[in-house]
């Protein structure tokens, strides 16, 4: 089976965020594989181990993203592809990313493409379905279970907390939701092997993409931190009196009840 995983290097949102000049400061911040993409990588490896084939992880980014690709290889992916847009693309949106990925994937005859359901930085959740649409293959989002039996693919997906059971077939793109699996940690031998696994680097030229084709459709005008909330009020005194104070505050000050 020919399996591809779309991964994104993201800012670890557990880190402190600093905004200056209307932009998030990334210097010195911790970067990780988007956690939902880790579920996708894990599932890809599991499917390959059960059905045979090869797992290729693909990312768009700059050289820094090599680190996340090596981690995916250390987990067990077979090959990695870095589409380096550093010199060609200044501003990227979901349209741009999906276009580039689809151009890369269009002649790969992928049976199964996996992605995270959302990236924790931009939080748009668009790239997976957009890629599927461009490739004209079916997609299923926020999956929590995947079973492939011959031609049939049985999936459970999370729809606002309810579980939807469905059937479809390959080729297919799915996006991973938490609950799909427990991503493995790269083992030491895994890390050693990863160093020797192929990591291909491509630029837009290699994919015959013109810069104009991938110009972002949307524009971020400003990035800002939410207005600092006034420090909350920690109530004091005996618990019963705190409780009655809280009730009266909720009714008269906050006016939410």
């Amino acid at each position: 089976m020919n399996i591809y995983v779309l991964v994104k290097r993201t800012f670890d949102t557990e880190e402190k965020l600093v905004v200056s000049g209307g932009q998030i400061q990334e210097d010195g911040a911790e970067f990780i594989i988007n956690p939902y993409d880790e579920y996708a990588i894990e599932e890809a490896i599991t499917v390959r181990d059960a059905h045979g084939g090869e797992v290729t992880v693909v990312t768009i980014g700059d050289e820094e993203a090599e680190k996340q690709l090596r981690t995916a290889l250390a987990m067990g992916a077979d090959k990695a592809v870095l589409i380096n847009t550093e010199d060609d693309v200044e501003e990227m949106d979901q349209f741009t990313a999906a276009y580039i990925l689809a151009e890369y994937l269009k002649d790969k005859e992928a049976d199964l493409i996996l992605a995270g359901n959302v990236a924790i930085d931009g939080g748009s959740g668009q790239v997976g379905p957009r890629v599927a649409d461009l490739l004209d293959i079916n997609y299923v989002t926020t999956i929590t279970s995947l079973e492939i039996e011959g031609e049939t693919v049985k999936i459970v997906r999370d729809i606002e907390g309810d579980a939807e059971e469905l059937e479809t077939s390959l080729p297919l793109l799915v996006t991973a939701q938490q609950g799909l699996n427990e991503p493995r940690y790269p083992s030491l031998p895994g890390i050693m092997k990863a160093k020797k696994k192929p990591l291909e680097e491509l630029e837009l030229d290699d994919l015959d993409i013109e810069e104009d084709d991938v110009e972002a459709k949307t524009e971020t005008i400003e990035v800002y931190l939410p207005p600092k909330k006034q420090a909350g009020r920690i109530l004091e005194g005996e618990i019963p009196s705190q409780v009655s104070e809280l009730v009266s505050l909720l009714r008269s000050e906050a006016k939410v009840i």
Binding site: Q94, F95, V127, G161, K217, L225, P226, G232, I234, I239
Partner: protein, 322 residues
């Protein structure tokens, strides 16, 4: 320039979802005086048309087909694109719901346009409209707009944009017949896990429990308080992982994103992934034994104490005054 805006209306358990009314209000702003056309897709949905008009839609188009009984991106995609072809809208608004999230990227891709998802606020009107959305797990916000001419396409986060006042009005409800074929996904079954009653993502009051609730039974006092206040019970992943409650109650990055008027967090430490789902709530109350707990940083009011003392007392106190 005024715009014609299409809005996807959604139903759940035989009623329109609030987010559809909110989407109409967003569409009004974007339209800058243009026309707002609501779209309903399903097996039998025309009965809901007038209600969308009452909330501000100028017109409603329904597409009814047995293949639209359950949502599939193929079925809804074909139906919605048929409406787009007929109406040639300049803007589109969906709710940022399971359906909206799944369908909007496909439609945006077909229209070769940008999609601004999970919008919580709109500044300006008509051509000047700029969209505000949370990023980095809700730690920051960005203001986004469409770069060039093209269809303006947004999804709106439930409970953030106020719906318009309901008014008896008249507007045309017409049907469009669409041939829906070749569905690549077959829905076999939906296992209902979410609780009956108030929909968590639209609830005005949420009482959420974390690992501090300690057991299934521990959620009972929370439920009692939620019932009294006409709200819903939610949970942290910690509580779901420990099997104190079902994952359908999970609030946060992976679970539901909620923006109630009142969010009471009991026995929840306040991890960033949890906050991503609730930090926009209008008023947050934290109840935690640990005065250092992170949740107090976002709370408007905090009580340092045992939730099993505080919650039942709260219920008693509310009973007195309501």
């Amino acid at each position: 320039m005024s715009k014609k805006v299409l809005v996807l209306g959604e139903t759940r358990e035989g009623a329109l979802r609030n987010v559809s009314f909110e989407a109409i209000a967003a569409a009004k702003k974007i339209s800058g005086g243009g026309e707002v056309v609501a779209v309903l897709l399903g097996e039998a949905v025309s009965e809901f048309g007038n209600e969308l008009v009452a909330y501000g839609a100028d017109r409603v188009i329904t597409v009814e087909h047995p293949h639209l009984k359950s949502y599939t991106s193929d079925g809804y995609g074909q139906a919605f694109m048929a409406v787009v072809d007929q109406e040639q809208p300049e803007a589109i608004v969906f709710g940022h719901t399971a359906v909206g999230k799944d369908l909007s990227p496909k439609i945006a891709s077909k229209l070769k346009t940008g999609l601004i998802s999970d919008v919580t606020d709109i500044e300006g009107e008509g051509d000047d409209a700029v969209f505000i959305r949370p990023i980095y797990s809700g730690k920051a916000f960005e203001k986004v707009k469409l770069k060039e001419d093209g269809v303006v396409f947004i999804t709106v986060r439930p409970n953030n944009i106020a719906p318009l006042e309901r008014e008896e009005r008249s507007g045309d409800v017409s049907s469009l017949s669409v041939d829906i074929t070749n569905l690549r996904t077959i829905i076999k079954n939906v296992v209902r896990k979410s609780a009956e009653g108030v929909d968590l993502s639209e609830a005005k009051v949420i009482i959420a429990g974390g690992r501090g609730v300690k057991s299934k039974e521990g959620f009972e006092p929370l439920q009692e308080l939620a019932d009294l206040l006409g709200g819903a019970v939610g949970a942290s992943r910690g509580a779901c992982d420990a099997d104190y409650c079902d994952y359908s109650l999970q609030i946060g990055q992976t679970g539901k994103v909620v923006t109630p008027d009142l969010y009471i967090a009991a026995g929840i430490s306040g991890a960033i992934q949890h906050m991503a789902g609730m930090s926009n709530s209008k008023v947050i109350v934290a109840i935690n034994k640990d005065p250092e707990a992170n949740i107090f940083k976002v709370a408007d009011y905090g009580i340092v104490g045992d939730l099993f003392d505080v919650i039942p007392l709260l219920t008693e106190e509310f009973k007195k005054v309501m």
